[in-house]
């Protein structure tokens, strides 16, 4: 039984990370109408920036995470401006391929700068708590807590601020928004900054627990895609719920079935769902 609770808590923690990544991805899709394939490298870059700040500069965890979010936000704006904006009117294939190019640049850049080895984050928030017969470290609680806070903040931002309403309007109807005088270019920029910052936050939160390495974005981004396809591309609640479900499925199946197959399991679920509903569980069109 305690194994079960341990796996559930683990699943919620993983789910938090996935939710944040999927949220960023789904926000970007809502504006671009194309999935940002390169989202995974933003995640990975966020982890490395946090790592650098914490080790080389010696900042404390919270400051490092905050600065990483800002840095990644800026990188996200650059990517939108330099890569996705010129391809706005081209076919989806062009944006995909450009994103693949970005992946190569970031991943192999990281490989060359930092090396292929798995970097270990300095021990952070390692105090352990014993609840319900299971042991849980402070960092894991922080992950879940910060995720909840970020989700709430994001929700408030989208629903309660004018910029948030602008983003929603642009996501629904780009041309209509332009006719209303909305500066679509600025909206795209802000959404990308947000999405990248969320990915950086997710990476920073999990960095002390998992290891940092150049390929870490890959599995995460694939799962994020599975999540937003199942939850509906562009749907924020879908990303959040889907993220937690994915985390739980992975944790539980990893605990009870073998870990190497748990990715296959997740993709298998995706394939089955897409076969039945080719536009995702909550997707329209």
């Amino acid at each position: 039984m305690s194994l079960f609770i341990q796996q559930v808590l683990n699943g919620i923690m993983l789910g938090s990370v996935y939710s944040l990544v999927a949220l960023g991805l789904t926000l970007e899709y809502g504006i671009l109408h194309i999935p940002n394939f390169a989202h995974g490298v933003l995640y990975m870059a966020g982890a490395y920036v946090t790592f650098l700040l914490a080790t080389a500069v010696g900042l404390n965890f919270w400051l490092a995470m905050l600065i990483a979010m800002i840095v990644l936000g800026l990188i996200g704006i650059l990517i939108e401006r330099l890569v996705y904006r010129p391809l706005m009117l081209e076919s989806h294939l062009s944006s995909f391929i450009a994103a693949i190019g970005l992946i190569f640049i970031f991943v192999d850049g990281a490989l060359n700068i930092f090396g292929p080895d798995f970097k270990r984050f300095p021990p952070t928030h390692t105090q352990a708590f014993h609840i319900l017969g299971v042991t849980i470290t402070l960092q894991r609680i922080i992950i879940i807590g910060v995720t909840v806070i970020l989700i709430v903040l994001l929700h408030l931002f989208i629903k309660k601020t004018i910029m948030g309403a602008t983003i929603e309007a642009t996501a629904q109807d780009r041309e209509g928004a332009q006719l209303m005088g909305i500066n679509v270019k600025r909206v795209r920029m802000i959404v990308f900054a947000l999405g990248s910052a969320l990915a950086a936050a997710a990476a920073a939160l999990i960095a002390p627990i998992h290891l940092v390495h150049p390929g870490m974005g890959g599995p995460v981004i694939l799962k994020a895609f599975v999540i937003i396809i199942l939850g509906g591309m562009g749907s924020m609640p879908g990303a959040i719920i889907g993220g937690f479900i994915m985390g739980l499925v992975e944790s539980l199946s990893g605990g009870y079935i073998s870990t190497s197959y748990n990715e296959v399991f997740a993709f298998g679920v995706l394939v089955i769902v897409l076969t039945i509903r080719p536009t995702g569980l909550f997707g329209a069109k």
Binding site: L87, S94, F104, I105
Partner: protein, 326 residues
């Protein structure tokens, strides 16, 4: 004027063929011959990928997986079942197409971005399976010792053996030429027009009586067939397989070959595969991060030269012609 143009093109092709067939005569370096063989194998894989992506317009990101399935099928049939290379080649291709059918039927119910992501997921699944199913595939340890193709007996007690590199080269070259010939014929036929119609506008095609699903599936299966064949050649030439050859990195590299060469042309994937394979093999020792360079190249080409090298040449050709008219 038109007659001259016609035979000019054929003359070029003839010269290229002569060039290709005589390479082993004047290339003595094993290293260079190795590069040439790899160019041909990748060119085969890229050309087949181009059928689905460039001509039918569907972003299939599982292509590397089929290359790997072809390679592993042949490797396992030869090493573990004791089959002769030649029937193993045929059976491996059939297996690849069969897996293609299993993957294609559900995947092709989706479109655009969903299809791309779905096929990429399949690619990952295939790599994970090959990696984890150690009892069958030896997993990360790799499949070692795949022999070269068995000798073919000829009349008068003679034999064609494939232990030498030139012999392998001719086998690979012949396969490449067959691939090009078959895909060329398909693309320049009514069937090819059907593929191009789907790429142009799926809804319009449906209203004209073309079944989008069947057309896409056919294109998919044909492209997997040749991917598998290329994989078999790889297995027998290199002699060693690891799960990485079915990896999504392979898919992405093939994608880059097509993009840089020029999507939707016959010549594009060939140019892309040849140039990039040569560059990457030559730069192997040098510290320049190859993939980072690829990445920049890809982004720049996508934004500034979407037709790839072929597209760029066409544009120059048009501009040259226009100048001539002035």
């Amino acid at each position: 004027m038109a007659g001259k143009l016609f035979s000019f093109k054929n003359l070029i092709i003839l010269l290229l063929l002569i060039f290709a067939f005589t390479i082993p005569c004047w290339v003595t370096s094993r290293f260079i011959l190795h590069i040439v063989i790899m160019c041909c194998i990748w060119a085969m894989a890229a050309t087949s990928m181009n059928l689905m992506m460039g001509y039918t317009g569907q972003i299939n990101l599982a292509h590397g997986a089929f290359f790997g399935i072809g390679a592993y099928s042949a490797g396992l049939l030869i090493l573990k079942v004791g089959m002769n290379f030649w029937p193993a080649l045929i059976l491996a291709c059939i297996i690849t197409v069969f897996v293609g059918l299993i993957i294609g039927l559900p995947a092709l119910r989706t479109r655009g971005s969903y299809f791309a992501i779905g096929t990429m997921c399949f690619n990952v699944i295939v790599t994970v399976i090959i990696d984890s199913w150690e009892d069958l595939t030896e997993g990360a340890r790799g499949l070692l010792g795949i022999p070269r193709p068995a000798p073919i007996s000829l009349p008068f007690g003679m034999e064609i053996t494939f232990t030498s590199m030139p012999a392998m080269y001719y086998l690979v070259l012949t396969s490449l030429l067959l691939t090009i010939w078959i895909i060329y014929r398909i693309v320049h036929s009514m069937l090819g027009r059907t593929f191009i119609a789907i790429k142009g506008n799926e809804e319009l095609s449906e209203s004209l009586g073309i079944s989008a699903m069947r057309t896409k599936l056919l294109s998919f299966l044909i492209s997997t067939f040749f991917a598998g064949w290329a994989g078999v050649l790889y297995a027998s030439y290199i002699g060693f397989l690891s799960p990485e050859i079915s990896d999504y990195h392979v898919t992405f590299e093939l994608l880059i070959f097509c993009m840089i060469g020029g999507l939707g042309t016959m010549v594009g994937p060939l140019i892309g595969a040849i140039i990039l394979t040569i560059i990457s093999e030559l730069l192997h020792g040098i510290a320049i991060p190859r993939m980072v360079a690829y990445g920049f190249l890809l982004v720049i080409i996508t934004i500034f030269l979407p037709g790839g090298i072929t597209g760029g040449i066409k544009m120059l050709w048009l501009r040259w012609n226009r100048k001539g008219e002035q």
